[in-house]
């Protein structure tokens, strides 16, 4: 697979961390050809991580979240949504009518926020891109009551910021808050802190709909209506793959790639738009920062080196920051089991905990407000009998 004509014209669709990483890896590997990045966004690449926290609260400006990229070595084109792929002709179509040829394509078109509004309803806010920020911040500072739909990481981070701003906050979800992500024990810890901060939680196991024929005025669930000045949905994301529908890569949902991030011999994909088919046939989509970085690295190396490139091992590391608790997790938390508490400091509200699987071996570890090098946390998530120091 390695004896192939070298690539000379690589196009990257997307403009976030996966796109930036892929571009950097290509250049670092000595790729000398054309490198074009087509981003639908109007901002230069930035990290989304602080958006729900310091940027939303007004403590930081989006410009401080910029991801370093050399526009000298990459032709970065902003405000260029790609609307189609002709994989037989090796070209992508941009919304402005341009057709851009490639001999290698990196799909990092990411995902967008899922919405609940019906046609004709306006005023449902989401938080995904920098462009979502200005209108949302304006409404936040004018509102008194807010309903956050979705009690996952994003919803809880938004709720935290709203509480800090003095708003009356209700969080609504069909599932118990954070339970699926953090398990029973750890999610209960966060919920207790949130409730102590004045947040109300509502369980709507039959789902939620938005009130209002024009502007959204609240939410409805079961037989209950709940009015609010502001409704923010944090109900998951949808991979941006519609532009692939007329190509051979058409996908319902994420674009499925192999462990080397190949979708086809000249097309690789990485980040939130991608799901990886594992050797056992399962398909995993892990839309976290570290996986975007790992996959983008593999994707770039695969385009250059073919099957010699290293595979993108999934990284089960993620974190969140909610209600004064910084939580870092490695591994997969069993939902129902309580962890072993290895360390606890009530004056700091800090914990170091470890979960074991049914075989008795460690399956996950987490810190709460506890500083620990991540390599040690990783070891605790996988090795039996490791003592954290």
């Amino acid at each position: 697979m390695t004896a192939r004509r070298p690539r000379r014209n690589i196009v990257i669709v997307g403009g976030s961390i996966a796109a930036v990483t892929a571009a950097q890896v290509l250049r670092a590997e000595g790729y000398q050809g054309r490198l074009t990045m087509l981003s639908a966004e109007t901002h230069l690449p930035y990290s989304r991580v602080p958006l729900s926290k310091s940027v939303l609260s007004g403590a930081a400006d989006i410009t401080t979240c910029a991801l370093p990229i050399s526009t000298e070595s990459v032709d970065v084109r902003l405000g260029q949504p790609v609307v189609g792929l002709d994989d037989q002709a090796h070209c992508v179509h941009v919304a402005n009518g341009d057709a851009i040829n490639y001999d290698g394509l990196i799909v990092t078109s990411g995902a967008r926020a899922r919405r609940l509004a019906r046609p004709g309803q306006s005023g449902e806010y989401v938080l995904r891109d920098a462009s979502d920020i200005p209108a949302l911040v304006e409404r936040l500072f004018a509102a008194r009551t807010v309903v956050v739909i979705g009690a996952g990481f994003l919803g809880m981070e938004i709720a935290t910021t709203c509480t800090t701003l003095g708003l009356d906050v209700t969080v609504i979800d069909r599932d118990p808050p954070l339970r699926r992500l953090l398990g029973t024990w750890l999610s209960a810890l966060v919920v207790a802190k949130a409730e102590a901060s004045g947040v109300r939680f509502v369980r709507a196991d039959k789902g939620v709909s938005l009130l209002g024929d024009g502007h959204v005025s609240g939410v409805a669930y079961d037989d209950v209506t709940l009015q609010a000045d502001l409704v923010i949905s944090a109900v998951g994301d949808i991979p941006n793959t519609e532009w692939l529908q007329r190509s051979r890569l058409r996908a319902a949902g994420a674009i499925v790639v192999d462990q080397q991030c190949f979708a086809s011999p000249d097309i690789v994909a990485a980040g939130d738009v991608a799901a990886i088919r594992q050797p056992d046939g399962s398909i995993t989509r892990l839309p976290h920062w570290n996986n975007a970085v790992r996959q983008a690295r593999t994707a770039a190396l695969s385009l250059l080196h073919g099957r010699d490139a290293p595979i993108a091992e999934p990284d089960h590391y993620f974190w969140t920051d909610a209600f004064g608790m910084q939580i870092k997790v490695c591994g997969r938390i069993p939902e129902q089991h309580d962890p072993i508490i290895l360390e606890r400091d009530d004056t700091q509200g800090s914990y170091l905990v470890q979960w074991t699987g049914s075989d008795g071996n460690p399956s996950a570890a987490a810190t709460v407000n506890r500083k620990l090098p991540v390599v040690k946390l990783r070891r605790l998530a996988t090795d039996a009998g490791v003592v954290a120091t």
């Binding site: 961390i17 930036v20 974190w319 620990l372």
Partner: protein
């Protein structure tokens, strides 16, 4: 000559820089990033330093040309 600018206030210790460039960055016992190499950076380390800086989710690292 290039050097690494670190905004330690922003560092949350996720260690992504360390994963990408372990010869440049390491999380210390406090779990926060420390820089292992002398500054200004020798030319041969600039690429690795940039690669590690670029993947920081908090944008706490930057390699700048200080000349």
């Amino acid at each position: 000559m290039s050097h690494i600018e670190l905004d330690r206030e922003r560092c949350e210790g996720h260690g992504t820089c360390e994963q990408i460039a372990p010869n440049i960055y390491q999380l210390d016992d406090e779990g926060l990033v420390s820089i292992l190499v002398d500054q200004p950076l020798p030319d041969e380390l600039v690429g690795a330093a940039e690669a590690g800086a670029r993947v920081c989710p908090l944008a706490a690292l930057r390699v700048v040309d200080g000349s």
